[in-house]
């Protein structure tokens, strides 16, 4: 759904909503606003902490508003830690992981939901089963493997293990099985479309909202992952979480500098959110076109 397709700037009309749903009442707004407040508050408080010293934060009346030293603290954080390099690397890692996960998991999810092939149940069970394995334990053999492949210290060492997730496959399978009616697929088959054509022009458009949700969750998971990256990467080639590691120096790390760095490292996520959030709404719009 791009501007290019129509060749003219898209006029944003407000179509009636898909779910035929009602307008929200004031109670809804109130509840949603409270939930939002609770969700956003810690981030806000992080900004407050990023602009005050430890001593100020632990005084009898701790401050509730950020001060102007936020930007100088971010500057200081940038001087200490390779945050920009970390951001760049994290963007690469998270984007590749997100694209890979969404593509491969949608494919596999579709197959598990709609195609009959021998052993598919067993394969799905294996897939879900692996979600149950606590992954921290695989870290050591994984490192040995990466060292043997000569990938230790490279971004691919972080990308490869998370390129596909059982979670993603399971999620897409559940969604496709309920969102894509079999009749739709059969109709496409009767029209003479091959399985890939069906996938591309019937399934993908229908599961767009789920793909956007999976993309959002995967991007975040990848962005915030630190257990494995700290082991396999070094400060010379860090992801953002690894670059945070350089923020605390000296026996008395300055909380404000650490928090300022954290804020700086979270901003890109918010941007990605805004873009993907549109996508989700875009997916809904698809449904809305039919009025």
């Amino acid at each position: 759904m791009t501007v290019a397709e129509t060749g003219q700037p898209r006029v944003r009309v407000k179509p009636p909503r898909d779910t035929g749903q009602h307008d929200a009442g004031w109670v809804t707004y109130l509840v949603i606003s409270l939930v939002t407040l609770g969700s956003v508050f810690p981030l806000y408080y992080t900004i407050v902490m990023a602009s005050h010293t430890n001593a100020e934060m632990s005084s009898a009346n701790p401050p509730w508003v950020p001060s102007t030293s936020l930007f100088s603290n971010i500057k200081a954080a940038l001087a200490i830690a390779p945050l920009n390099k970390g951001l760049l690397n994290s963007l690469v890692v998270s984007s590749v992981v997100t694209l890979g996960t969404v593509a491969l998991c949608t494919l596999a999810g579709f197959a598990f939901a709609k195609l009959r092939f021998r052993g598919s149940n067993l394969l799905l069970a294996i897939c879900i089963g692996t979600m149950m394995v606590p992954m921290q334990m695989g870290v050591i053999p994984l490192y040995m493997l990466m060292a043997r492949l000569g990938l230790a210290g490279h971004l691919s060492a972080v990308i490869l293990p998370t390129l596909v997730t059982a979670f993603g496959v399971f999620f897409m399978r559940q969604y496709i099985s309920s969102a894509v009616p079999d009749e739709l697929i059969e109709a496409a088959y009767i029209d003479g479309a091959g399985p890939f054509r069906v996938f591309w022009s019937v399934v993908v458009p229908a599961v767009r909202p789920a793909m956007a949700v999976l993309a959002m969750l995967t991007f975040l998971m990848s962005w915030n992952d630190f257990f494995w990256p700290i082991i396999v990467l070094s400060s010379q080639n860090p992801t953002v979480q690894v670059s945070f590691q350089s923020l605390a120096t000296g026996y008395a790390p300055q909380q404000s500098i650490i928090m300022a760095g954290t804020i700086y490292g979270t901003v890109p996520v918010l941007v990605v959110f805004a873009l993907l959030g549109r996508q989700i709404v875009g997916g809904i719009m698809q449904g809305a076109v039919k009025g």
Partner: protein
């Protein structure tokens, strides 16, 4: 995005007309085709190399006495690690805590997520903003979240006790006493994951055919009845999914209780909120006993498997009962 798909979406779906009917996975009229393998192959290739292999290696390690410092000196001890585990009071303590914290955190979390998703599905101004906002806890770095929750639950100077004091209730020892500490840890978990699940429900809700609601509205069904009789059944696969994923997640909880004790892996001074995931972390990464930690990992796997199967059986039983 082609025109074909738009018209395709128009096609009324007969299947979802009877939401209570459980559709079997293989009910589709698709040709039983080998092509399925082609779809799942790329996934399984990557998966086998980077997930399954380390996991099998873990199984091998669990049969040895291994420490990371002397990784290449692995002594075969058969099932001794498992024996050690089942006679270990720390393991049973963690097992109980995992269950209670899992229940206290998962059930309210999913119920709240469903409610929030339902509200977000209304016609709202600024819905994108709200949708993004509820995912903020999942985006907040763990370090920042910890600092904040430790502030809130600080027994001496925290906001929570201050509020309790204000309304003349007795203050609570949120770190030292068992149940308050478990509630506090569960609160962190709930805070972090509710938005995540709400988003998943929201995606599921958008797959429900809107004409169903229209028909119900014509029949004069109240919003509540629409929610119970259309939304919930339509969400069944999604709800099942979140239950399974949350069960798995709850059994593996380790970050929140770790941070709640300032990064110490003992789960409180008396282990009052040490979970299985945290016990495994402590054995492997703090106490340097990889063999024992691997045995814990595999034991956890079996426990989770049983819990998930129980969930699925329960879901199936419910469905069967409804169909009667």
């Amino acid at each position: 995005m082609t025109l074909a798909s738009d018209t395709a979406l128009d096609a009324p779906s007969a299947a979802s007309g009877t939401p209570a009917r459980r559709r079997r996975r293989s009910a589709g009229g698709l040709p039983g085709s080998r092509v399925g393998y082609v779809y799942v192959l790329p996934f399984f290739l990557v998966f086998a190399a980077f997930s399954v292999y380390p996991w099998l290696d873990t199984a091998w390690v669990s049969l040895h006495d291994v420490r990371l410092s002397t990784y290449h000196h692995q002594t075969w001890i058969g099932l001794a690690n498992y024996r050690d585990l089942f006679t270990n009071p720390y393991f049973w303590n963690a097992f109980r805590n995992t269950f209670t914290i899992g229940v206290i955190s998962t059930i309210p979390q999913l119920v709240m997520a469903l409610g929030i998703a339902h509200l977000l599905n209304y016609r709202l101004r600024g819905r994108t903003f709200f949708r993004v906002a509820i995912l903020m806890p999942y985006a907040t770095s763990l370090a920042a979240a910890t600092v904040i929750f430790l502030e809130l639950f600080d027994t001496r100077l925290g906001l929570v006790n201050w509020a309790l004091h204000l309304v003349h209730l007795p203050t609570v020892d949120w770190q030292g006493s068992k149940w308050p500490a478990q509630v506090a840890v569960s609160t962190i978990i709930t805070w972090r994951w509710t938005g995540y699940n709400a988003l998943i429900y929201l995606a599921g809700m958008q797959a429900i055919d809107p004409s169903l609601y229209d028909a119900a509205a014509v029949d004069g069904a109240s919003r509540w009845r629409q929610f119970v009789h259309i939304t919930i059944p339509g969400l069944r696969p999604t709800i099942l999914f979140t239950i399974v994923v949350s069960t798995i997640g709850a059994a593996q909880i380790f970050g929140e209780p770790l941070l709640y004790h300032n990064g110490k892996a003992d789960g409180g001074t008396q282990g009052q909120y040490q979970t299985l995931g945290l016990l495994m972390y402590q054995q492997g990464w703090v106490n340097d006993r990889l063999g024992l930690a691997s045995a814990t990992a595999w034991t956890m796997f079996v426990i989770i498997l049983l819990a998930v199967v129980a969930n699925l059986l329960f879901a199936r039983w419910r469905t069967v009962r409804e169909l009667r």
